[in-house]
Chain length 353, copies 2
Amino acid sequence: MEITITKTKVLKPKPDDSKLGFGSIFTDHMLNVDYEPEKGWHNPRIEPYAPFEMDPATMVLHYGQAVFEGLKAYRTASGSVQLFRAKDNFTRLNQSSRSLCIPEIDEAFLMDSLKQLLEIEKDWIPKAPGTSLYVRPTIIATDPYLGVRASNTYRYFVILSPVGAYYAAGFNPVKIWVTKSHVRAVRGGVGEAKTPANYAASLYAGEQATKSGYAQVLWLDGVEQKYIEEVGSMNIFFVIDDEITTPMLNGSILPGITRNSVLALAKHWGMKVSERKITIDEVMQAHESGKLQEIFGSGTAAVISPVGEMKYGDKVITVSDGKVGPIANKLFKTIQDIQYGKAEDPMSWIETV
Amino acid sequence: MEITITKTKVLKPKPDDSKLGFGSIFTDHMLNVDYEPEKGWHNPRIEPYAPFEMDPATMVLHYGQAVFEGLKAYRTASGSVQLFRAKDNFTRLNQSSRSLCIPEIDEAFLMDSLKQLLEIEKDWIPKAPGTSLYVRPTIIATDPYLGVRASNTYRYFVILSPVGAYYAAGFNPVKIWVTKSHVRAVRGGVGEAKTPANYAASLYAGEQATKSGYAQVLWLDGVEQKYIEEVGSMNIFFVIDDEITTPMLNGSILPGITRNSVLALAKHWGMKVSERKITIDEVMQAHESGKLQEIFGSGTAAVISPVGEMKYGDKVITVSDGKVGPIANKLFKTIQDIQYGKAEDPMSWIETV
Ligand SMILES: Cc1ncc(COP(=O)(O)O)c(C=O)c1O
Ligand SMILES: Cc1ncc(COP(=O)(O)O)c(C=O)c1O
């Protein structure tokens, strides 16, 4: 598919690298592609960032049929631009689409069109350490129709947002809260898809956590409420007795790309690694017996997020003395160095733009 | 709040009453109300039905923070217009909002503003038997922001759609399919809220059912996958051994207003009624022993939907000889007659516009 390019007449002023937050500033252009049953995905175009004209009956607003991705473009010291495992994001987008009855898109096209968009927007990629350009590919159902069924028409779009360093205030641990009352997803549902439903279901407990001074919610499984699943927008790892362990992919947690990178690197380093079922009781007991060395989350936004404190029911435990553990630290540094082109890329994760 | 009214200059042509489907034709005007933290809900206005200008980063598109309702306005033989239990829809809207961290709206305002909108659009309420004007109140999160949290701003809107008789081809039973593999919602989640997430989670199994010739999916509970929950967009009733029974409200099914009406009428008629846990095995056994007399769904769209066939695993059972059972028939006729002002309203369910 040939992409039509329409450039904006007036460029927006670019923000100061030191004043970037997350997800509220958008670049000059976006990519739009439409789907109709007879035409398939068609009319790809890069055009000025602009609001959609959206009928109030548009299905995505009523029935949440949508999927999305989140990845980043990084500027290296030499000024070049690179993506981290973008192919995997596009594969996951199509996986999510299958769960939501959305037609798939050719992955080579997804990659090529993103590169074209980034080429046009490359001046938006910030330079300060830890900053990047966040990429949000999204598909929404666009039929203006109120019956409950999969839509016939869709819009694929990509928007870009320059984001600040996640650890602008230093690479510090966070506090997480294990919810006993709320459930994000259950097997047989859409928990492993990156789809709005899972985030909608997480808002209430998220607000409760924030009000109590906790950064994120740790979710337990929906069936027995005892197996650990994942955190807000991260997967979760435990270092117990020198073993790095994370919940196995069970159909209700997001198969995180950072999660996969952590597993690959730890194995590559010869560490003991496992993906398995882990109960919250096992973690609490490991803490009591002094075997719980570290807890950390993994995700595109933070890369690695060390956990210094965890609350479960009445119990509050301090992890790694409330400091960043050595494994979290090594993983963070290594992955970030690969992302910014400062270190070798032993797994061929980098895609040059 | 004073509602500003702006009328359209050109009225759309009204469709033929005999050619109405469901949810694809919209009237000339809509209601819009905005929310901002400092102003609360403000600027209510009835204005021409028009597309939203929606930033591609609008939170509802990414995180599904939204709630909605579905109710109908009916035209009586004398030409007057009436709503059925609209108060309960607005109470449920606020209940849904609480689960989704959305600010509540004054229920008297919700009712009054709907009546004003209906007053303006009353010529859109069709006259043919079984037709009505479907009302869709909706709230969507409107911050243009990609972080996961509750939005600060919202839009409440109401759109209206003239809909045809659900049973245009006759009051006939449907076939339903019990899914063993998919789960709609689980306790601790958002299953009892009327929010897009639940419908997104239902699409995949819904498509599978349709492909196999079944009209709707019957959902089992998310924990043990053995207790009956509800059907696609209906609650479900069983008549076993002269008792009318329906799954109790457990936090993961929608508290249907038609469900409540069925329970109230059946009790009023002196029938044996229960709300309790019902396993799919109990239903299959009741069928085997000849005690299963009827199955029917309840919901705003169909009022009552008799079930003539149900498939569970390899077993296909025929219910009420594949015909409409007497209790389903009596409930359908009674509720519909109340809705259209043809029968007395013993429970004061009718709201006159
Ligand atoms: C629910 C959830 N889990 C895990 C992750 C981590 O996935 P990834 O490492 O691909 O960013 C994310 C988000 O990015 C998420 O939203
Ligand atoms: C999931 C679900 N269950 C049940 C119902 C029935 O509710 P009510 O009788 O209020 O229409 C509906 C829809 O209307 C629904 O969407």
